[in-house]
């Protein structure tokens, strides 16, 4: 389907005296989703941050399409979208303006694309309101719209369903499904099972606290 592949080889990372990632191994190819689970403090977020190059592993390596991600970090970053705990939205700007500036740093976004992405996440009624007036779930939906607009093969998602209602959680599953069918890769740290329907492409990995 596609030649994308994200691989972690014997990844070790310490936070002070705490050995957070202890020889973590994973491999996710195009059309596959890796669902990370584990208790609080097990290292889900740390693994995602290491996989996207924000944190440096003290041992092992992360490779993208066979190359260590550190070899050309800019090129690797251009192919990934990372969604953290809190969406990086400015309270004083509208959801539409936020998306324009957020995604616009990566690629030119046409107004029509923006409308479609916002409509897709149910944001057509609130996209022109300042973000400070939106609920946490609406902010999360706006972040999901940004994710789809980035058009990148690798999605790294940290608790993507946080603050979302049941309909919103289904939406996350549907967006990931579409992304996988398009040949993309998704790695998501979750506390609840993702509502994805791609039966063969879902891998599960549980991280444990030391």
């Amino acid at each position: 389907m596609s030649d994308f592949c994200l691989k972690g080889e014997n990844v070790h990372l310490w936070r002070g005296d705490h050995h957070v990632l202890r020889g973590v191994r994973f491999q996710v190819g195009g059309g596959e989703c890796l669902q990370l689970t584990g208790a609080n403090g097990a290292g889900k977020t740390t693994l995602l941050r290491t996989a996207c190059g924000l944190a440096y592993p003290e041992g092992g390596e992360i490779t993208w399409c066979g190359e260590n991600i550190r070899k050309d970090l800019h090129a690797f970053h251009a192919q990934l979208a990372y969604l953290g705990h809190e969406p990086p939205l400015k309270a004083e700007l509208t959801a539409r303006e936020n998306l324009l500036y957020w995604v616009g740093v990566r690629r030119r976004v046409e107004q029509q694309e923006l409308d479609q992405a916002l409509e897709r996440v149910g944001g057509d009624t609130w996209s022109d309101r300042p973000v400070r007036t939106l609920s946490a779930g609406q902010k999360r939906r706006a972040a999901l719209a940004a994710l789809t607009l980035m058009r990148v093969p690798l999605w790294l998602l940290d608790e993507p369903t946080t603050n979302l209602d049941a309909e919103g959680q289904k939406l996350v599953g549907a967006l990931i499904d579409e992304h996988l069918q398009d040949g993309g890769i998704a790695v998501a740290a979750v506390h609840h099972e993702l509502a994805v329907s791609v039966a063969n492409g879902l891998q599960r990995m549980e991280l444990t606290v030391e």
Partner: protein, 256 residues
Amino acid sequence: MSNSGAIGQDPAARVRAHETSAARTRNGGESSVSALTAARLILARDLKLAFRKRSQLVQPLAFFAIVTTLFPLGVSPELSRLRPMAAGVVWAAALLSSLLALELLFRDDAQDGTLEQYALSGRSLTWLLAAKTAAHWLLTGLPLALMAPLAGMALGAPPAAVPGIIASVAVGTVALSLIGSIGAGLTLGIRRSGALLSLLTLPLEIPVLIFGARATELAIGGAAYGVPLQLLAALAVLGLTLAPLAASAAVRINLE
């Protein structure tokens, strides 16, 4: 809620669209933007944000106005006594006002994850932070340069000194913003970083204060102020060359 995507429902077509899009991304892409375009967008965003949060915009200017107004009250209302110290007062107030605004340079963007997104955007973080610093100068340095002649004249500077005061403060604050961006990057992960930021940046800003005050003093005295102004410009160029690189390295360390 509809589950139909913008690309359509045909899986084969979607695969082709995604792979074409991914290939475009790999090759720099027809829809991907240059670092300069991304930097312009950030500049526009920061200016828009500042005008929607006017209190932050006004704070350094109000501080500058208050400090320069208090001096005549504390020293003497006689212009003959104030004139010799006008340059020093204007520059000390400009430096402290610039410091006051520095704490906010990267803080909000670091807290809400925007800096992380910049670091992961695939664009040069150095360019993006340079754009943020440029916005900071436009919002604090430039207004200070425009206010400085008023403060100078209130302290006895002649109207003929206005171009010299504006030029020295405008060029000097460029250097202050750039030097300050390094300190702001280094203190990003520290709560209430104001005091540490001052300690880190003030020693580096002393040459700017010395040359800036000298240029302003010469302008007030009606003498040629070209040499100290050129030295200020040299500091600004040096800052422009090195500060964004140092600031982006500091920000990357703090994002880890």
